[in-house]
């Protein structure tokens, strides 16, 4: 039994069969990479997992519970956090406030009118957020306006916002897309650091083979809406179908 079980998921957009009987089993504690050429259906698949899209058929079980048809905030409350391709943060707020919001979501649930509490004096939540920022090396920036951070720091902040919720599953949608090599390596180090300090299952959708082979414990390959191969990184590297569909384009 994996923590995430996807069975026979199909999704059509008009005449396009975007996902064709996709099955995926993500083991607890693994780093499962999903790779595939452009237009293979990776983002569609991810959107089906987090409640943004509803597949036509199939089932998705997270931790034994069905998640299809649930709203994004409900899926998050079950323990699934998501890192976006472009970091999604609250750019008008300070770094600390950004991290305090998921702390409140974790503590108070999806809705609670706490109109007479004081954010400044909420010691528990504040300490939790500060610890998180310290762990990711952002404590000295906690009073900065988050909109003015560099792209790498925005990514780091977004990770902090996801991790502070102590998720069971972390979904990463091309975490290094559009990054320079140095920033990419920083992100790999960050993810390795997270892997060492916390036992969180991760699903990574990624283009960059360097990132995939540095982090993944299992790899699934998606091409034209279907999973064509799955296995350990070393198996995937030499898999003829994968080379044909994808790796033939790039040196590994």
């Amino acid at each position: 039994m994996g923590i995430l079980e996807v069975q026979n998921v199909n999704k059509h957009f008009g005449g396009l069969h975007a996902l064709n009987n996709v099955n995926l089993n993500v083991e607890q504690g693994s780093v499962h990479a999903l790779i595939g050429p452009n237009g293979a259906g990776k983002s569609t698949f991810l959107n089906c997992l987090i409640g943004k899209l509803k597949p036509d058929t199939g089932s998705v079980l997270f931790d034994g519970q069905p998640v299809l048809g649930k709203k994004p905030h409900e899926i998050n409350q079950l323990g699934v956090s998501r890192v976006f391709q472009t970091p999604e943060i609250f750019t008008d707020l300070t770094v600390l406030e950004n991290v305090m919001i998921p702390c409140y979501a974790h503590r108070d649930g999806p809705f609670r009118v706490n109109a007479f509490g004081r954010v400044r004096k909420d010691k528990g939540v504040r300490d939790q957020a500060e610890h998180m920022l310290e762990d990711l090396g952002m404590k000295e920036k906690m009073h900065a306006h988050s909109g003015s951070l560099s792209r790498g720091d925005k990514r780091r902040l977004e990770m902090a916002m996801c991790l502070v919720q102590e998720p069971k599953l972390l979904l990463l949608d091309e975490p290094t897309a559009g990054m320079a090599r140095a920033d990419t390596n920083n992100t790999i180090d960050l993810l390795k650091h997270i892997g060492e300090t916390r036992n969180i299952t991760k699903v990574i959708i990624e283009h960059d083979m360097h990132v995939v082979f540095s982090l993944a414990t299992t790899i699934s390959v998606l091409a034209q809406g279907a999973i064509i191969a799955e296995g350990l990184p070393d198996d995937i590297k030499g898999h003829p179908k994968v080379r044909e569909a994808y790796l033939g384009e790039a040196e590994v």
Binding site: H73, N76, S81, E88, L93, A105, F111, R118, R120
Partner: protein, 381 residues
């Protein structure tokens, strides 16, 4: 740098509001009626800012809640008592319920579609007050007091004149102190102080909301709703709560308008009234604590004082000049004052929006920083 903490801000605010009859005397705005309007529209704008300033949802429909509050208060005056307490309580409750319904429907959409939905609801309420709801609103004549109203709590009533609104016997209109200070004839009446205390209370509530986790969530809604939803927060109930709270503030303001002058017509629900509160908040500084109140004072001052400046007054300003210069200047200036006050207000509004996107508060801050910097240069820091 001087840091205003919340206690100090509240203290200064309270002192200024309570001393308003004295402070406003030199501006010619210190008569009770106008000061009550400052306070009432201040409450309206402070409440509106909780929705618009924090969540960014722009409603054009808040006039409906103001009007509903006034009608609810009038019915209390007619049926129950001239005491303002039950009237104000009912205005807040009815406006709250009304905004719950309108908010629930309108908040299914965001951005321009939300604004249009609220606008449509306000116009619908306004037209209905004129037509099918005539038994409740008395249509075009408006709802007024009558000698034969039941007023069951007030007991036997004089039959020769209409009763006045009061707070446990203190008549709202009554001027309780009328001193002459610095050559000004000052008027302190109960009505203003009732409004002032409610204004201070509203300001305090808004301040607490701004600093609370609830307020943080509302600001997060404005910044990035996608992230908020993927962070496990359901944004809809938060926006609805903000909508209802701002609707209740509008209802309170509507009720207070009725305590000041116990009669209400449907024009109070017209969308221009809802548009005016948007102007107040933007002009003063949206999302700031004090801005909406400043904007309310600014617009109401223009409407009531600036609009009274006629050509005679303008000629008075330039009387020391030769006749031709006097006439020339008066001809240039007069389109901008008196009946032309909208022109000046419009120009000022444009200047603020273009050069001071943070409103008057932003202007104040920049001025403050500039003064501090100039200061430091002088002493060589």
């Amino acid at each position: 740098m001087v840091r205003f903490n919340d206690k100090l801000t509240l203290l200064i605010f309270t002192a200024l509001v309570l001393a308003a009859p004295l402070i406003l005397a030199p501006t010619g705005a210190a008569y009770p009626d106008l000061m009550q309007r400052f306070a009432i529209y201040g409450i309206f704008a402070i409440g509106f800012n909780i929705l618009f300033g924090l969540t960014g949802y722009l409603s054009f429909g808040h006039a409906a809640f103001l009007g509903v509050g006034s009608y609810a208060a009038m019915w209390m005056f007619k049926l129950l008592s001239m005491n303002i307490i039950p009237a104000l309580i009912l205005s807040v409750i009815i406006a709250g319920l009304f905004s719950l319904v309108i908010g629930y429907i309108s908040l299914r959409r965001s951005g321009i579609y939300f604004s249009i939905l609220t606008l449509a609801f306000a116009e619908m309420s306004y037209k209905m007050a004129y037509s099918v709801l005539t038994p409740l609103t008395n249509g075009e004549t408006g709802l007024q007091l009558a000698l034969d109203d039941p007023r069951i709590l007030d007991g036997v009533q004089a039959q020769d004149s209409l009763p006045s609104t009061n707070l446990f016997g203190f008549e709202m209109k009554e001027v309780f102190w009328n001193p002459h200070i610095f050559g000004y004839d000052l008027q302190f009446n109960y009505g203003y102080y009732v409004c002032a205390i409610l204004l201070i209370l509203s300001f305090y509530i808004a301040m607490r909301i701004f600093r609370s986790p609830f307020g943080l969530m509302l600001r997060a809604v404005k910044t990035n709703q996608t992230r908020l939803n993927y962070t496990g927060i359901s944004s809809r109930p938060y926006t609805l709560a903000a909508f209802v709270i701002s609707g209740m503030f509008a209802g309170l303001a509507g009720g207070l308008l009725a305590t000041m002058d116990p009669s209400v017509g449907a024009e109070r629900m017209q969308w221009t009234v809802g548009g005016e509160v948007v102007l107040m908040v933007v002009l003063g500084g949206m999302g700031t604590l004090i801005g909406p109140f400043l904007g309310a004072i600014f617009i109401k001052y223009f409407e009531n004082i600036f609009s009274k400046i006629n050509e005679g007054v303008v000629h008075g300003w330039f009387a020391y000049l030769p006749d031709w210069a006097d006439n020339l200047l008066a001809a240039i200036v007069s389109p901008f004052v008196g009946k032309g006050w909208h022109l000046t207000l419009g120009l000022l509004f444009m200047i603020v929006v273009i050069f001071l996107p943070g409103g008057l508060v932003d202007g104040g801050r920049r001025l403050f920083r500039w003064v501090i910097r100039a200061d430091k240069k002088d002493i060589g820091v």
